[in-house]
Amino acid sequence: MPNEIVAHGAGVRECSYAEAIREALAQAMEADGRVFLFGEDVGVYGGAFGVSGDLFHRFGPERVIDTPISELGLAGAAVGAAITGMRPVLEIQFSDFITLAMEQVVNQAAKIHFMFGGKASVPLVIRLPGGSGTGAAAQHSQSLEAWFAHVPGLKVVQPSTPHDAKGLLLAAIDDPNPVLIFEHKLLYKTKGPVPVEPYRVPIGKAAVRREGTDITVVATSIMALRAEAAAQRLAAEGISAEVIDLRTLRPIDFPTVAESVRKTHRLLTVYEGVKTMGIGAEVSAMIAESEVFDFLDAPIARLGGAEVPLPYNPALEKAAVPQEDDIVAAVRRLVREGEA
């Protein structure tokens, strides 16, 4: 399987993040009879966020399967299907509901390959719409990806663009390991260039979204877009920010981050999950432990979600996660004043 981003010139057109995911699912199902999509309301309804759309009608109820509301059972079913030759793709309606399935994801899917001495593999994909910004409040807005990035045996990706949403999903379906894809609800309608043909975005490879010299901003998911917008504004005031979209949390692409920080001497991490014990802590610690430490010319800073369950009120909700202005301010502080 090609493991490269295929540039298709004429074969590239604008489509939404949700459409890109749907296209990847369709192409994977067309190419491989082992692939099937299942989950709550993915069939006739077309998915709670419309991602599966017409797939039920195109591939039939055997390949696009509506399920009871049984997250634990579904995650286990994905495991069972995967270890006996299928390539299941499970949609968990809101990523928050994965908490109901922790047992199967963490104890079974992540460990079976190792626990059985390498004698079984678990090629499953779980798609998880996450993130805040829709007014869905505390139980439907979380960013729990860091929990899973803590588990050896799992892979965790977070696409931020339609291009990566398709490419990472196809790479995940190819992967012989359990891969969790944390999609962002606010991104489903965002548009971007997507090649028509199938292609893979390698799991474990970050993307440098914008080059810069004064500071490295490592961001995930929608925060990568906000960081890019912030960098654009900062450029106007003479601050050159390099923006890295991490894309994969596990296995994390440390070399790309390290190379950048070695150049810029400053690091800011931006992520939507709660700030404490999060992705930013990991990236910061990796830099602090590495030889790049000696190239830091300012404290490492983190911008993460507030230490609070996500609130309902729109102003509060917005205040609970990093916004573009927050990133601009944090970068200014770090670059101009050397303060985290």
Partner: protein, 417 residues
């Protein structure tokens, strides 16, 4: 919590300053806003006020001492509070300075004496790394970051300053050595650890680089010196009259090299990356020692200037080095170097090329040597010249041709002058 009193920056591009006069004494009670001291800059004097109320303790700046901006000069403490510990002035020892010249008995005034406690020093990892590689004592560097944190720019700025003000800091450099020298614990009293000076560090780096990158080889020749000695004797009175200085053999040799090198452009060349740079000018560096520091001032366009000019120029360079007033421009741009150890009685030696140059001429002493001439043994004054070359640019034949021309010129110098 004690509040620090720093020497503030009160002027644009002010990097150092001095406490002109203290208005308070150790132990005085002050209120925020009271005048603590007057600061003098090269433009004006200004009063500095107390940043907090309390007792003045830990006054750490002599009146008149030049200090980097941001240096803590005192603390405002609570009545029962002591200021945070700082470097002991006792560490500044009089007799450690290279050359053994006795330093003043009281703690030396310069910045080195007012050093921040290393543990309290705030510096970014990059600044620390940079300081280590440049041989800079971070305690001398004013920090521009939050709460005085030193960032890489501060170190860079300081390094630039050091280079350009080596001279004015004459006494200070000695004091830095003094402050940093650590007599190793009792029991092993005969070992002293003396950090390299900045000049020594740079020289060390360049020499290592030279040996690592330039494949050296050397060619030697014994050259009769009588004609040159005669020429110098003949010219000396006039030059001394013009400049007040007798021309040295080294100056004569620099003049000769300056004359010859345009015809030996590779020996006057330098290696830059993958290409050879051939220089239109011949700039002769002269290796000079200053208290164990190797410095190479450069006689620019040596082939085009009179002996008197070169004599005066070399004298000026030597003095400025001695006075630590030499400018970086006078230490750079060389295309060839002469190192003369003849005056120390050395017969011959081979020198390490001063990168990125391609050759260096090592001159031994002139000594009366018996040689056979017309079937007779006669005594002639002779010196051994050894040319070290970078084999990447210069091969044996090129080196030999230069030595042949050098012999010709030294043995028949009149044509040059």
């Amino acid at each position: 919590m004690a509040v620090e009193v720093i020497l503030p920056k009160v002027d644009m591009d002010m990097e150092t300053g001095a406490v002109h006069a203290w208005k308070v004494r150790e132990g005085d009670a002050v209120r925020a806003g009271d005048v603590l001291f007057e600061i003098s800059t090269n433009k004006a004097a200004m009063e500095v006020e107390a940043p907090a109320s309390g007792i003045v303790r830990g006054i750490a700046a002599e009146e008149g001492a030049t200090l980097p901006v941001g240096t803590i000069v005192a603390w405002i403490c609570a009545p029962d509070e002591q200021p945070p510990a700082r470097a002991e002035p006792a560490e500044v020892r009089a007799h450690v300075a290279a050359g053994g010249s006795p330093a003043p008995a009281k703690p030396a005034a310069p910045a080195g004496a007012i050093s921040r406690e290393p543990s309290a020093l705030r510096a970014t990892p990059l600044a620390r790394r940079l300081a280590t590689s440049l041989g800079i004592d971070l305690r001398q560097v004013p920090g521009s970051g939050p709460r005085g944190r030193i960032v890489s720019d501060d170190v860079d700025r300081h390094a630039g300053e050091m280079q350009s003000t080596v001279a004015s800091a004459g006494a200070r450099n000695g004091a830095v050595i003094a402050a940093d020298a650590r007599v190793i614990e009792a029991g092993r009293p005969r070992v002293r650890r003396v950090p390299l000076t900045a000049v020594q560090r740079i020289a060390a780096q360049r020499l290592v680089e030279s040996v690592r990158t330039a494949p050296h080889f050397a060619v030697s020749a014994h050259i009769e010196m009588q004609a040159l000695i005669d020429l110098r004797a003949r010219l000396a009175p006039r030059i001394e009259e013009q400049t007040g200085i007798r021309p040295s053999l080294t100056v004569l040799l620099a003049r000769i090299a300056g004359h010859l090198l345009p015809r030996h452009e590779r020996i006057n060349g330098s290696m830059e990356g993958e290409s050879v740079c051939l220089h239109g000018d011949v700039n002769i560096g002269i290796a000079v020692d200053r208290d164990g520091e190797l410095m190479v001032p450069v006689l620019k366009r040596a082939g085009e200037r009179s002996l008197a000019e070169l004599t005066a120029e070399l004298a000026r360079l030597r003095k400025e080095i001695e006075d630590r007033a030499i400018r970086p421009a006078d230490l750079t741009g060389g295309t060839f170097t002469i190192s003369n150890l003849g005056m120390y009685g050395v017969d011959s030696f081979s020198a390490i090329i001063n990168p990125p140059e391609s050759a260096i001429l090592a001159v031994g002493r002139t000594v009366a040597t018996p040689v056979g001439r017309d079937g007779q043994i006669v005594l002639v004054p002779r010196a051994t010249f050894t040319l070290s070359c970078d084999h990447r640019l210069v091969d044996g034949v090129l080196a030999a041709r230069f030595m042949r021309d050098l012999r010709e010129a030294i043995e028949h110098p009149e044509v040059l002058i």
